[in-house]
């Protein structure tokens, strides 16, 4: 596995390519069955791994010691477990009608201000339901300042967005649609646009029993779509947890032990979601785009400004302040919500600022004890993982994804002209 320094160099190069390629990114439109298995992703860790060396006797002893450590560390946290049923809020029961409507709306750019952006623009089924960029593309005329997260399994989260700003899928959709760096949509304009589309009017009637589409129901429909259609709960890890011992390879099993022991991942990535849903500062390096792209700087400073940080912080901050935007507590600076790990094989680049291109980079970062900024999480420490251990850990991480959720964008219903006679010319002589 590459050294972290190599990784960083590679990353800088890759990030530059990302910038140059921005806006021109061509990806094939998914077609055929809705669920396709991405063989590349499944095979990746195996194929990249060099010939395995036989464990030396002293290493075997160390492994035995690690196993004990595993047991004691893992015991302190909720165990890895299968995903439960998707939680559904009482005020928005799941129905098929809502789901089909929500799917259409998810792909409809008429929810954005200038028709240039739909939910799928930054949560693209072909790109792990993220947008594949280190930092999201954002609304036209802007460049977003955070990584676009996958929305697969987002239905399980009680805190949405990287700094946990939204408490529900409905609230998250609202922020994304109206956010000036995201959809820049106007709720009343959206309602009137939808009212101009007879097929939507009928679908809202069917799903919610209302005569005219409302913005509130737009959010409910999109959330229903996410709850029903964007759940990945059958990864090899899930199969293993369901009792299929053969679902995880030997390497992945060793990786699992490391995950719960020597590597300490379990401290934050635990329970059915593989996240504690808490906030931590890893001391991550800032994405170099913030020193290279004026529009990223605009977005970062705009974020400081609209979130109401004190003037001095606005003037002097050099980085994304994370949870601090919400709490204004200095101890919360640069803390971000632990992301869940399922579907991770499809969601590179990683971290809130997309600073790591690959999972290998992520492992190297943690192995080195995280970043070197002040205020880092006390949970971070050098891990001293061997190369083989890193590969095992990677193998385990890649067992958390399973089949890719592919989806062909639906055909969207069109505007229809208003079918009512207009008052004729009022000129009496005509």
């Amino acid at each position: 596995m590459r050294t972290s320094q190599d990784c960083l160099l590679v990353f800088f190069f890759a990030a530059t390519i990302t910038v140059l390629g921005c806006g021109k990114k061509e990806t094939q439109v998914a077609s055929g069955p809705e669920v396709a298995v991405n063989e590349d992703a499944k095979a990746s860790a195996d194929s990249r791994r060099p010939e395995q060396t036989t464990a030396e006797p002293d290493e075997a002893e160390a492994n035995a010691a690690d196993a004990n450590e595993t047991a004691s560390l893992a015991a302190g946290f909720p165990p890895l477990a299968r995903l439960p049923k998707v939680p559904v809020p009482a005020d928005n029961p799941l129905t098929d009608a809502k789901v089909s409507l929500g799917k259409l709306l998810f792909f409809d750019d008429r929810l954005s201000g200038d028709l240039g952006t739909s939910c799928a623009s930054c949560h693209d089924p072909r790109l792990g339901w993220g947008d594949g960029n280190a930092l999201s593309r954002g609304y036209a005329g802007t460049q977003h300042w955070r990584n676009s997260q996958t929305i697969v399994n987002s239905a399980y989260l009680s805190k949405l967005f990287w700094a946990g700003e939204s408490p529900s899928l409905e609230a998250q959709a609202d922020s994304a649609i109206t956010g000036n760096l995201a959809g820049n949509g106007d709720p009343v304009m959206i309602e009137e646009r939808l009212a101009q589309i007879p097929e939507y009017v009928a679908l809202f009637q069917e799903a919610f029993g209302i005569d005219r589409p409302t913005y509130e129901h737009v959010l409910k429909a999109i959330a229903s779509f996410e709850r029903s259609s964007l759940v990945a709960d059958n990864s090899p890890l899930d199969q293993y947890l369901a009792g299929d011992e053969a679902a995880l390879s030997e390497e992945a099993m060793r990786g699992k032990a490391l995950f719960q022991g020597k590597a300490g991942c379990i401290q934050c990535h635990h329970g059915p979601l593989l996240t504690d849903e808490k906030f931590h500062n890893l001391g991550l390096p800032e994405n170099p785009l913030f020193t290279k792209d004026p529009l990223r700087q605009v977005s970062l400073r705009y974020q400081h400004y609209i979130r109401g940080v004190p003037e001095e912080v606005y003037r002097t901050a050099t980085t994304d302040l994370g949870l601090y935007y919400t709490t204004k507590r200095k101890s919360d600076m640069s803390k971000f919500r632990t992301p869940p790990l399922r579907y991770i094989s499809y969601t590179a680049p990683y971290m809130h600022n997309g600073v790591f291109e690959t999972l290998e980079d992520v492992i190297e970062f943690y192995d080195a004890g995280g970043g070197d900024q002040a205020g880092n999480s006390p949970l971070l420490r050098p891990l001293n993982l061997t190369e083989d251990e890193k590969w095992d850990l990677l193998e385990f991480l890649e067992s958390m994804s399973g089949d890719e959720i592919r989806m062909t964008p639906p055909e969207l219903p069109a505007y229809e002209p208003t079918k009512v006679a207009v008052a004729s010319r009022t000129n009496p002589n005509e």
């Binding site: 000036n180 106007d186 605009v298």
Partner: protein, 359 residues
């Protein structure tokens, strides 16, 4: 004034205040070039800068094109991408100092910066968050410098609005043949136009509403201009129309098939279909005409008034002008426009990288 024409005037102005009968046309003061200022120069740059719109694609000049007398030359204005507006873009020449802004008079003429703000912020115009606009301009060192020098500090929303307002206020009406004629130059207008002026003041009684230096009473009238069916048949316009009526508080907008004008502001039935009397200056270059661009030529406008306006107009009566008289009137209307204001779009300063954390 002949007895006959005086009788007609009295007849159809019976319901208007007597004061309006005494209104006369007035020339612009000589050399009425509005003084330029450094603030207006800054405002000029901003006027052309698409970074003031949400998706950075349109500027003030997109709809108020200097090459088209600060209009867009369309019956109905375009608006923000994804929407289409439902009223005609008025010229900005001489716009400052009106009693009201917008065709429906929803803003006070005393507050030009608010008019600018409304354009930047509204979903149907530029759909931009002012806080984002500020950050964009602060990312342009040349703007930073100019704002500090001219407006006394870094770019702020208020300073942006004031600068653009100063530029718009500098766009005065241009001296027209009528001004020279009214100041005594008998040769300033062709004979047909002089006859047209007489009709304008007498038989056609345009001066009932179009008088003074601005050729407008600054008031609101319902002349019964026919609806522009595009507002209802074009989905994007009808969407924008309904959204506007909803957000300004008009109920039942889904079934509305008429632009109710000033009534959308006051919600008062008396104001139904009332629109602000536009200035007639620059009128040769600001076709199409009326709040909804219903007429594409001045001849159509004159014919409309000759017919007594629309059926539900406030006070208009047929004028019984001969076709020659109508032609003379059009000839006169052509004397209200000055030399075009030639304004080249400026080169805009670019975004630059900053060192984050250093102010």
């Amino acid at each position: 004034m002949s007895f006959a024409s005086a009788a007609i005037v009295v007849l159809w102005f019976g319901s208007l205040p007597l004061a309006t009968l005494a209104q006369e046309l007035k020339p612009l003061p000589p050399n009425d070039e509005k003084p330029s200022s450094e603030l207006a120069d800054l405002g000029k740059l901003l006027f052309f800068d698409p970074r003031l719109s949400g998706d950075a694609t349109i500027s003030c000049a997109t709809c108020h094109d200097p090459g088209k007398a600060f209009t867009d030359g369309m019956p109905l204005s375009t608006g923000y991408p994804g929407s289409r507006y439902f009223r005609n873009t008025p010229t900005l020449l001489g716009a400052a100092g009106q009693d009201f802004f917008y065709w429906d008079a929803r803003l006070s003429g005393d507050d030009l910066p608010s008019l600018v703000r409304d354009h930047i912020a509204e979903a149907h115009f530029m759909q931009a968050d002012g806080r984002l606009v500020i950050e964009r301009l602060r990312q342009v060192p040349e703007y930073e410098k100019m704002f500090r020098e001219v407006a006394g500090g870094e770019p702020s929303y208020g300073k942006i609005l004031n600068a653009i307002a100063a530029f718009v206020a500098s766009l005065g009406s241009r001296e027209a043949p009528l001004d020279r004629y009214l100041r005594g130059d008998q040769t300033a207008m062709p004979e047909a136009a002089v006859r047209g002026l007489e009709l304008f003041r007498s038989k056609a009684d345009c001066t009932g509403c179009h008088y003074g230096e601005r050729l407008s009473d600054g008031k609101l009238h319902n002349t019964g201009v026919p609806e522009n069916p595009q507002i209802f048949s074009d989905p994007l316009r009808h969407i924008t129309f309904r959204r506007f009526m909803r957000t300004i508080g008009v109920g039942q907008c889904a079934t509305l098939r008429k632009d109710i004008g000033h009534r959308c502001v006051t919600k008062d039935a008396q104001d139904d279909g009332k629109f602000r009397t536009p200035s007639l200056r620059e009128v040769s270059r600001t076709a199409p005409y009326m709040h909804n661009g219903a007429f594409s030529t001045l001849s159509e406008v004159v014919a409309f008034y000759n017919d007594g306006g629309g059926s539900d107009s406030d006070d208009l009566q047929p004028l019984e002008l001969s076709s020659e008289e109508q032609a003379d009137l059009v000839e006169f209307l052509k004397q209200l426009t000055g030399e075009p204001l030639v304004l080249k779009p400026p080169e805009l300063p670019a975004y630059q990288l900053r060192t984050l954390g250093e102010f």
